[in-house]
Symmetry: C2
Subunit: 506 residues, 2 copies
């Protein structure tokens, strides 16, 4: 035993073994709850070791597959490795791995796309079947046997509670000073025994800093020293800066109108480069004393914490680039007080998002002229990532904003279409749509009024005339003029793209 | 002043006038918040008097229109009258009036379809524009000037709080013994000042029995003596009975599996005959000590309260047939203790629905093979009623169930289609689909797995082969096999119906 072992509980030391030994314990056919939320806090050795075992088994003609449940997306060592060897029977609730995605879209792997706030309770309720195993990365094990969470929490509490057998990866790369940053709420119950969740400010601490687990369930502990794999963000491009600019202008307008306090309301910002760029914009904007209640804390938010624009942030994951992570750890004592990491059933809880009045800003694939949003399916059939927490936030937000560049694939695709090819957020849940072209404020507008504003403010000039023409004809010839559509044309833009590589410009 | 006047506050007596005089006060161009939730508790004279005034004005070439905001649907004296004279500029948030519907679908009237739980807060936030007037039916005014609510509450609290000027209809037909049945929660706040709502059981009383209003805002009081207009329910037909049977069987199965307690969880039941039939089924079923947390209390639930199957019910409206209402009033002292009427921002609050773990049962227009649900649009363009509270309940429910006969219009329309022509509830929010053919339990299934179960269990035999064929071809030829669709065919069933009056059977 190395003297610098982070397994301080002596009874548990005997369960330390290699990743290969631990992976050998997991049988085919089980459901495994893994840690990981974005490229943070996922197990880094056992899944890949398991993937190798699965490969051997498959090469020997013995089909070996497991169900893989996580917090959200993970990294190549987990999703990539297991998908590569065709080891995943069913994946949930969110993924963004290229190999995974390819298998799912080839029909070789099943995937269930679930609101992130629904996942933990669906497992407690028994709605997704039995959770057999848990493989969880932690930053250490205390003398008392408590688990110090790593750089994300996700569904770890639930996986540890529900699984029969637990494998822990204790990663000494995770900074020891993370201890105390987490807030694990153990007050959730099954109905009819649920009580109000006592959180009224984004930075309230309502739980405990450690994860608990019945030690008799721990069958293996693997010591690792491997870094998280969040990729760097691209510097904001012109379109992202314009999107950020429109949102800032909108917030300023709302403050002037008395519909938002000067320090705004808690910010939620989705995954990806555009969301990050909006945070960059806010960091240079006129608002101070901001707070965040979100599920991913990306570089842009860390910058805002550093500059003091943001006083505190609540998240379930540190989705930081290597450079930002280095900065976090340099000033960890300050950040630890201002960042709270929570289980995702709390970071994404409808009760709390609604109570706090979060300003939700999420990316999307496409929106239609009536304000329905597709966050997940390219051309209606191919999954990109999944809905993630966007529905939890959009439905319960004070204002729900969706953003995208107005075109994709070098301008061949219009992200504003007559009818979305898949709906994740209905007209009822979408209040603002933003592209680099402009912002459409849909509050208080009927479908037809919305269509005019969406086309006028958000569509790319290349597609604006064709959209206007569609809307005009739909409004003249549709069977119903509440939400006028020409059903024979509504999805023809997607079809044309599939056939010719371009959506129609004339 | 008649000695039996229900306007007990003497200062307010001077404001009593005729409906015509009161209606004459309302100018064109204003937004009017009216009471009314289903055919219960809507103002019965002022809207019709106003409609006549509007007609005169329009006949004289002076355009007269108002915005009409309500709790939900109302009755011919309100929606019908105002729509008939083309007096409505913008209607929200839910309607079910034939004349209204016709005007909306002809493009002559704007309509915004909003989650019922979002309405009150959107008005507080200032997102829908200014609320100028309120016209509210009450059952009486106490000596202190408090308002005794009538047979529905809806958004009355918010209309009274937000409007500049208030007209009250004091309806002596409303039973005096309603006093004490209501629970008006005055603890809601704007973010960032919101606190947990202290309701943990469906029958908890957390507020006050009266509505409050600044007396200086009351510009007119109209005394009426007119009955509510909820229509009678049709006796359950064969299909409804079968749907009810499948749901009962499902609940029994869930209890056996330990996924539901024996007394189930609080029931929510949507509008209409099928929902009513399910309550009839439960009334004859094996479950006792049930509770309800719903927005409409229809005859079926009253029967369950009478039989003792249901111990208590929380609702925002008494949507009872004349016969059921008579029964209610015969035993009002008992029912008053067991029924709580609440503002709709509480009956439909995501925080509370999620906390209580409601079993949500709502009707729909159509579902697609992947489990997306259309509650509102016939053939994708014509509004039927609106989403109502179905989204509030479905998203936050313990189990969310949608039900419909498998066909409509004498069998020419399949209510299970390849792709819904409009989406109100996404695959993420739909756990169970039921038709008279059977029940599809979609929990834990991927889209392709769902498609098989939905087609097999729910589709009508006339359409099953065609649906299977669509799915098979989509799964072979779609660009993506996560949610396989043939975009050129996905909406062709609706198109075929519009062109030929029949969806395809071969
Ligand atoms: C929608 C989402 C994929 C956008 O991601 P992003 O990083 O902001 O956007 P990008 O512009 O880089 O687009 C991602 C990909 O989708 C493609 N794309 C974007 N719009 C498209 C459209 N309308 N049609 C087809 N493809 C499109 C892009 O070309 C890009 O593809 P590539 O990787 O092959 O280049 C992302 O926001 C997401 O997964 N959202 C759902 C989950 C969520 O909102 N979570 C929020 C809480 S964290
Ligand atoms: C969807 C909804 C309209 C169904 O109502 P219902 O009374 O159970 O159903 P019905 O079978 O009587 O259908 C109502 C009408 O829709 C028509 N219809 C039903 N399915 C149809 C379909 N797939 N395509 C076209 N028309 C359809 C029926 O023919 C009927 O038309 P008619 O009045 O001209 O005969 C109703 O549940 C609703 O408004 N839901 C949304 C609001 C809600 O869910 N609130 C819940 C909380 S209270």
């Amino acid at each position: 035993m190395a003297s610098d072992s982070r397994v301080l509980n002596s009874a548990l030391r005997s369960r330390i073994m290699s990743a290969e030994e631990a992976a050998a314990l997991i049988p085919s056919g089980v459901n495994v709850g893994m840690s990981g939320f974005t490229g943070a806090g996922y197990p880094k050795q056992v899944p890949a070791a398991l993937a190798k075992r699965i490969m051997d088994s498959n090469l020997n003609g013995k089909k070996f597959k497991i169900g893989v449940w996580t917090g959200a997306s993970t990294a190549p060592e987990l999703d990539g490795a297991l998908a590569m060897v065709d080891g995943v029977e069913m994946r949930l609730p969110y993924q963004s791995d290229p190999i995974c995605r390819k298998r799912i879209n080839a029909g070789e792997m099943e995937y269930i796309d679930i609101h992130l706030s629904h996942v933990a309770q669906s497992v407690w309720f028994g709605f997704l079947g039995k959770l057999d195993w848990a493989v969880i990365e932690v930053a250490g094990i205390t003398e008392e046997g408590h688990l110090i969470p790593a750089s994300s929490i996700g569904n770890n509490k639930t996986w540890l509670d529900c699984a029969d057998k637990v494998i822990l990866e204790v990663n000494s790369w995770q900074h020891p000073a993370l201890e105390g940053m987490h807030d694990i709420y153990y007050g959730t119950q099954l109905p009819p025994h649920r009580k109000p969740i006592p959180l009224v400010r984004p930075d309230d601490r309502i739980g405990e800093p450690y994860l608990k687990v019945d030690p008799s369930k721990i069958v293996a502990i693997v010591e690792t020293d491997l870094k998280d794999r969040n990729s760097a963000f691209t510097p904001p491009d012109q379109a992202s800066k314009q999107i950020a600019g429109h949102i800032l202008e909108f917030f300023e307008h709302e403050v002037r109108k008395g519909r938002l306090p000067r320090e705004l309301l808690p910010l939620q910002s989705g995954v990806g480069n555009i969301a990050n760029a909006v945070m960059n914009g806010l960091n240079e904007g006129p608002f101070d004393n901001l707070t965040a209640y979100t599920e991913v804390l990306q570089d842009g938010m860390l910058d805002m914490l550093r500059s003091g624009k943001l006083t505190s942030a609540s998240s379930t994951a540190l989705s930081l680039s290597p450079a930002a992570l280095a900065e976090l750890y340099t000033n960890i004592d300050d950040y630890r007080r201002r960042i709270v990491l929570r289980p995702q059933e709390i970071s994404n809880h409808p009760e709390l998002i609604r109570r706090l009045g979060v300003l939700a800003m999420n990316g999307m694939i496409e929106a239609d002229i009536y304000g329905n949003v597709n966050s997940t399916h390219v051309m209606g059939t191919q999954i990109m990532n999944g809905i993630g927490g966007s529905g939890d936030f959009a439905r319960n937000a004070y204002i729900s904003i969706f953003m995208t560049p107005s075109t994709a694939k070098g301008g061949d695709i219009s992200c504003i279409v007559p009818m979305v090819s898949h709906t994740d957020h209905t007209e009822h849940d979408v209040q603002v749509i933003v592209t680099e072209q402009g912002l459409a404020d849909l509050r208080g507008l009927s479908p037809k009024q919305r269509a005019k504003v969406v086309i006028e403010n958000c569509a790319h000039p290349d597609f604006k005339p064709v959209l206007k023409d569609y809307y005009r004809r739909a409004n003249s010839y549709a069977a119903g003029r509440h939400t006028p559509h020409l059903l024979e044309e509504a999805l023809s833009w997607h079809l044309r793209y599939l056939r010719s590589g371009k959506m129609p410009r004339d």
